[in-house]
């Protein structure tokens, strides 16, 4: 692949943070509580550590093929036909993730801000924004994300307003009450909010020097940042809400914020939700950029048309799933995320090492 626009390690940090922090944020404490009770934050920390290892493996895989994305080197590793099949499956997976994000986004909006608006209108708006946002090159995307990073910091600051007499640190204790094995077992569930790191399979190709260890620095800090952020959110909800409350609130963070009243603003949750809306959008743009890159390579069309094609696909599928069964995609994705984010990259790495696959041509100088 001839890479026109290069990104730096710092850029990769923004890309990855924005891709990883997304829809999972709101319901995360609720989900971890289901699995491990008050020890959810431990399992998030463990998953964060685990993701670091996975990211390292992905880097080991990608450094064999500088300037090549997954869609290029899969053919080198697996051969023409099976490589194409893998690419196709990956594209479907990426699009499925976008559908999932669409559905959760629309659902949350409908429940918290726009109860009377028909959902298909929200889907339509998301569709147009997706198309407008994804027809760009990677430089544009990175610059947008680096600005939107400010809004992640805003989310942080909004949660600082929460601390009040309601907090009860005792909800965290006893630490490890749900049992070590239980916590470990639930890490596979808490991997879900971390999905987004698999886009590295594509983004590493844009790095200036993907072979050196410095390429990994941005990734390392990105995963660290996301881990800390998510852990913070989980701890915050555990401390603020009693175990019974968390069980019945699907979005604990918003629930906490809605109860807070500062002098000039009464409903902080709506502010939080607005900023969250901006950040989720960066996830959508990132995924759809990756997917469209795959599509345009697969059937050889221009990026513009690939975006329109994938946008239409996502629109139709998400509307169908929304009216059919909302939770179905989530169940699927729990397993799909593991398969596409972890198992397949590891398999590819093993094949590369065992059969000594090498990139036929790399434009290192370019």
């Amino acid at each position: 692949m001839r890479v026109k626009n290069r990104i730096s390690s710092v850029n990769l940090f923004f890309l990855l943070v924005q891709t990883m922090i997304g829809v999972g944020l709101l319901s995360l404490p609720h989900q971890t509580h289901d699995a491990t009770g008050s020890d959810g934050w431990i399992s998030i920390l463990i998953s964060g550590f685990f993701i670091q290892l996975i990211v390292l493996l992905i880097w080991l895989l990608c450094r064999n093929f500088p300037n090549l994305t997954l869609f290029d080197f899969s053919k080198v590793i697996l051969g023409e036909t099976s490589g194409t099949v893998l690419n196709f499956i990956y594209i479907i997976y990426l699009l499925t993730v976008i559908c999932y994000i669409f559905i959760i986004y629309a659902d949350t909006l409908k429940r918290w801000i726009l109860p009377e608006t028909p959902v298909w209108i929200i889907f339509l708006i998301l569709f147009f924004l997706l198309i407008y946002g994804s027809i760009c090159n990677i430089k544009n995307m990175v610059s947008l994300f680096s600005f939107l990073f400010i809004f992640i910091l805003f989310l942080f600051f909004i949660t600082f307003l929460v601390y009040d007499s309601y907090t009860d640190v005792r909800y965290l204790f006893p630490i490890g009450s749900s049992g070590g094995w239980n916590i470990l077992k639930s890490t596979s569930d808490s991997m879900m909010p971390f999905i987004g790191f698999e886009t590295l399979l594509i983004y590493f190709a844009f790095m200036k020097q993907s072979k050196t260890i410095s390429a990994l620095k941005g990734v390392f800090f990105a995963v660290l940042f996301v881990t800390i952020f998510l852990t913070y959110i989980v701890i915050l909800s555990t401390v603020m809400l009693s175990p019974e409350e968390i069980k019945i609130t699907p979005e604990p963070v918003l629930y906490i914020l809605s109860a807070i009243e500062i002098r000039i603003l009464s409903r902080l949750d709506l502010i939080f939700l607005s900023f969250w809306g901006l950040i989720v959008f960066s996830t959508i743009i990132s995924y759809s950029f990756s997917a469209c890159m795959g599509i345009s390579k697969l059937i050889r069309i221009k990026h513009k048309f690939a975006v329109i094609l994938s946008g239409t696909f996502v629109l139709i599928v998400s509307i169908i799933f929304y009216y059919m069964e909302i939770t179905l995609l989530e169940k699927w994705l729990k397993h799909l995320g593991l398969i596409f984010g972890i198992i397949i990259p590891i398999l590819l790495l093993l094949i590369t090492i065992i059969f000594k696959r090498e990139a036929a041509s790399t434009y290192e100088k370019n």
């Binding site: 909006l109 726009l114 929200i122 610059s143 600005f147 000039i264 607005s274």
Partner: protein, 496 residues
């Protein structure tokens, strides 16, 4: 078809032999084209000039007088004109004549003539700029003459790097345009781009700086200006020193500065004259007011029509009490107010200053109060619109503040349909758009997108000038020694 034939006829003459007759016929024997024969020293000279463009004083004293008293055979030694060039083709001769030169031809030697500078100048006196006012800045503004503008710019930018390149644009009427930059400071890539774009302009005529702006800006479908128009030499000079390029158009008192990023439009000369605390504070105020002017009406609509639970309860009551008499939705209400404000604004530009004060009272105060009391708009709406317009007046640049007006209406519409979600959509679209804009290859939303903390030094804040030793701007070679405040170290004393 006729035009085409006409053109080909002209080009034929262009190539025809260099002679007075040909020049005259190409200038259509216009009445103010005068010629005069001078017999001197056994030679016959013919002077050809356009009467309305030259200074008769100069012509008489510098050319005719020395010619009549000529003793030497070499004309060039005798003439007092400061600028002499030879013309060997009709085209060069005609362009010279149109620039106010007179053409001197020695009879018998028809192959060449001399162009002598005798142009009249109608320069007005340099005066204080009317639009870009400052408190402490220089009281000098650009004028309508190209040469004088270059003079003004050079006097505040003394440097051997100061480079001027001249272009003649326009195919039917020509306009001189000068490209000015500091060599070794400006990025050569930018200079190359500007030159290329200027050369590709094929307009028939250049009416103003706007024509050139239309032709060379990166993106046309955007409310954001990508070139800075200024009428202040000190501002232009400061930008040149930062590595920008200036374009001066003959006959236009506004100078184009490029590339201009989003933050360029928030800088004023005063920021650099006042102490840096004040300068930074003003920057903050301007940025803040820009954001306020952009989203306050939309936020108000979202608050009162969707999310009244966000604002404190006491405020809801007081807003509600005046809104209950208004038959319109908040969106319509704000639209009425905004539109009437636009009318007031547009009308006040055309009014003579003596009437404007009365107009302000009648238009602003009386109509505003009457509108509330008649129940057409509510107090809340009135306050929001007034605040918005005041914030938009804070903007130092006219074009930047008009981008608020263009973006404000769609944002209001979105807020009226989707509440906060609508504002999020609008803001996201603006951000996506901004992150893609470039101005001559420089990212438009520059220090923020892509994020570059180093460049914050002269954008959202203004650090003291001795601290600006390490920042990029448009200049790859920008270097400044760190040592301006080294004396502090020498002077500081230990307390014991």
């Amino acid at each position: 078809m006729r035009l085409k034939r006409n053109k080909s006829k002209k080009s034929l003459i262009n190539q025809a032999n260099f002679s007075i007759e040909n020049i005259k016929s190409q200038l259509n024997h216009t009445s103010d084209l005068k010629d005069r024969e001078i017999h001197s020293n056994n030679q016959i000279f013919i002077i050809l000039y356009i009467d309305s463009l030259i200074d008769p004083e100069k012509l008489e004293s510098k050319i005719i007088k020395p010619l009549t008293k000529m003793k030497d055979n070499n004309i060039l030694n005798e003439l007092y004109s400061q600028e002499i060039s030879t013309a060997r083709s009709n085209k060069v001769a005609i362009n010279g004549l149109l620039d106010g030169y007179c053409l001197l031809i020695k009879k018998g030697r028809n192959s060449e003539g001399f162009l002598l500078k005798t142009n009249a100048s109608t320069d007005r006196e340099v005066s204080e700029p009317k639009i870009e006012k400052t408190i402490l800045g220089a009281k000098v503004g650009f004028v309508e003459s190209l040469d004088k503008n270059i003079f003004l710019l050079r006097t505040v930018t003394k440097s051997p790097d100061f480079t001027v390149k001249e272009y003649t644009l326009g195919s039917s009427t020509t306009t001189n345009v000068s490209l000015i930059y500091l060599d070794h400071v400006t990025d050569p890539e930018i200079i190359k781009k500007v030159e290329q774009r200027i050369k590709s302009i094929t307009l028939n005529s250049i009416r103003s700086a706007g024509d050139i702006q239309d032709c060379i800006e990166d993106h046309t479908v955007t409310p954001f200006p990508q070139l800075l128009l200024t009428e202040r030499p000190d501002r232009a000079s400061a930008n040149l020193k930062d590595g920008s390029v200036a374009l001066i158009i003959d006959g236009s008192p506004t100078v184009i500065i490029l590339p201009a990023t989003f933050m360029t439009f928030f800088q004023t000369t005063d920021d650099y004259i006042t102490r840096w605390w004040l300068g930074s504070f003003f920057r903050f105020i301007r940025l803040f007011s820009y954001i306020i002017a952009l989203i306050l009406p939309a936020l108000y609509i979202a608050f009162v029509s969707f999310h009244y639970e966000v604002i404190p309860l006491e405020l809801v009551y007081s807003l509600q009490s005046s809104m209950s008499y208004v038959p319109f939705r908040p969106f319509i209400e704000l639209m009425i107010m905004q539109l009437s404000l636009e009318l007031l604004r547009e009308a006040s530009i055309r009014l003579p200053p003596s009437v404007a004060a009365t107009f302000g009272i009648v238009g602003g105060l009386v109509v505003g109060t009457a509108m509330v009391e008649a129940g057409i708009v509510s107090y809340g709406g009135l306050i929001v619109v007034a605040l918005t317009s005041v914030s938009s007046f804070v903007q130092p640049n006219l074009e930047m503040s008009s981008s608020i007006r263009i973006l404000g209406f769609p944002l209001m519409l979105l807020a009226a349909t989707f509440g906060f979600f609508g504002i999020v959509i609008g803001v996201l679209c603006v951000l996506i758009h901004l992150s893609r804009l470039t101005s001559f290859g420089v990212p438009y939303f520059s220090p923020f997108v892509p994020l570059n903390i180093k460049d914050f030094k002269d954008t959202i804040i203004r650090v003291p000038s001795w601290m600006m030793y390490k920042y990029s701007k448009n200049s790859p070679h920008y270097k400044q020694e760190k040592r301006s405040r080294k004396w502090k170290l020498d002077e500081s004393e230990e307390p014991y």
